[in-house]
């Protein structure tokens, strides 16, 4: 079987599968403009990130293992695993919220900037892949706890950066008087 022939069979089949995928109803409910920007201006989870990360440091539990409290050590590890997973969920939620905001932005923009849109698409794919990969590693117990401990070292700068960006975005969003009007129009269209 030649490659071009195989591709001429495979490509249409892939297209049909993609069509089925594209026609499925979205898992997430479409958010309205005001819902998105309201959520963006709310207090973010990563404001408490340093504390969460501190609780994940291995030194915090190591003394239990050394002291022979294996059960307690295991329980704490399990709890911390669930904290790490929850943290990932928060990150993902935050990411999806931003994407939703960017989509709404693109729908009301007179001309979307292709590079920005493409950049977002790339980031989306990369984030989705990394997030899934990390989650599965955590679930399979492959995550060494000391790794999360070291994150707290980098958390400071990053958190500040994110907070600053959120604030700026929130301010700009609240200043954009066009959004509430669009919200009503869009909701009517979708209902």
């Amino acid at each position: 079987m030649s490659l071009p022939f195989a591709l001429f069979i495979v490509i249409p089949v892939v297209l049909v599968l993609l069509l089925i995928l594209a026609l499925r109803p979205p898992k997430r409910r479409s958010m309205s403009t005001s819902e998105v920007f309201e959520a963006l201006t709310e207090e973010r989870h990563y404001a408490r990130l340093p504390q969460i990360l501190q609780s994940l440091r291995e030194e915090d539990t190591e003394f239990l293992r050394v002291g022979g409290h294996r059960d307690l050590f295991d329980r704490l590890r399990a709890e911390r695993k669930s904290i790490a997973l929850r943290y990932l969920n928060y990150l993902e939620e935050e990411f999806q919220l931003l994407l939703e905001a960017s989509r709404i932005l693109a729908t009301i923009a007179p001309e979307a900037i292709p590079m920005d849109e493409f950049e977002r698409f790339k980031l989306n794919v990369r984030f989705a892949f990394c997030c899934r990969y990390l989650r599965w590693r955590l679930r399979l117990g492959l995550q060494p706890w000391n790794v999360f401990g070291t994150i707290s070292d980098m958390a400071g700068d990053l958190t500040l950066g994110l907070e600053a960006a959120t604030t700026r975005l929130g301010e700009r969003a609240s200043m954009a008087s066009e959004f509430p009007l669009f919200l009503e129009n869009r909701r009517r269209d979708l209902d």
Binding site: P12, L19, T107, I108, E111, L162
Partner: protein, 264 residues
């Protein structure tokens, strides 16, 4: 057992009748106003059926004249199909000028890539160039429509029932057309020509039934409120901010992964 030729004739007659039924519904529901390109496409397929019936009767199924008339007509039909598809895309995205400007470039690029690939991969059998170009056009139509649906989904653009079913019909027909044409190309026209024609008619029949159902159920859409656009400056600023934050979140995740990998 039913003779394949009789079966094929029956399917052909049935598709012609269904085309006329679809035309009737389109006219009755006055959809020629909102979907003129689709109406022209339908008329082109009806005229093609009539002309081909006359040509086969006059010159026979295997004659060169019939072959030339078929492919000449096919060229016209494919052009009108492209117009109908562009009409669907425009109707879907016209209320979203930002996305439409972005999407039309992307969609045409996808279409041209598919067509180019299809023609270039035809192993230089130039005597069958018209067949390969036709296959390429069908592949580009399918790629165009599937990309359109993916873009609509990505940006949460609502897809009205009629446009949805028209597009599904077109894309499924094009996909199966490419598969049929490739099978014939691989195993020879002589052995599979009858089967290919039958499968092609069958696929078109399915698309016709889908379209008739959609046109019959079509209710006059409420006037869509055109969203108030933001200024380009606001979009540019917010877009940059959003991207910056997405970057930061991504970096955070990648940092987690890298740190972990280096230690495990």
């Amino acid at each position: 057992m039913v003779d394949p030729i009789i079966l094929q004739d029956f399917a052909w007659t049935l598709t012609t009748l269904l085309k006329l039924l679809l035309l009737f519904y389109l006219l009755r529901r006055r959809l020629y106003r909102s979907h003129p390109a689709f109406l022209i496409y339908l008329l082109a397929t009806i005229v093609q059926s009539v002309v081909m019936t006359a040509a086969y009767r006059h010159w026979g199924f295997q004659s060169m004249q019939s072959w030339n008339i078929y492919w000449g007509g096919q060229g016209v039909v494919v052009c009108t199909r492209w117009l109908a598809i562009v009409e669907i895309a425009r109707k879907l995205l016209t209320n979203y000028p930002g996305i439409w400007r972005l999407a039309n470039r992307l969609l045409f690029a996808v279409g041209i890539c598919a067509l180019t690939y299809s023609v270039l991969s035809s192993a230089h059998k130039w005597q069958f160039a018209v067949v390969y170009v036709d296959r390429g056009v069908e592949l580009s139509i399918a790629a165009f429509l599937v990309s359109l649906f993916l873009i609509a989904r990505y940006y949460r653009v609502p897809v009205a029932g009629l446009e949805r079913y028209l597009a599904i019909g077109f894309s499924l027909y094009s996909c199966f057309w490419v598969i049929n044409a490739s099978l014939v190309d691989r195993w020879g026209a002589a052995s599979l020509e009858g089967l290919r024609n039958f499968l092609e008619i069958l696929t078109f029949l399915a698309s016709l039934l889908l379209w008739i159902g959609a046109v019959r159920k079509h209710a006059v859409a409420r006037a869509v409120t055109v969203p108030a656009p933001v200024s380009p400056e606001t979009y540019a600023k917010l877009s940059l901010e959003v991207n910056a934050r997405l970057h930061l979140l991504n970096e955070r995740l990648v940092h987690l992964l890298r740190t972990k990998d280096s230690r495990s």
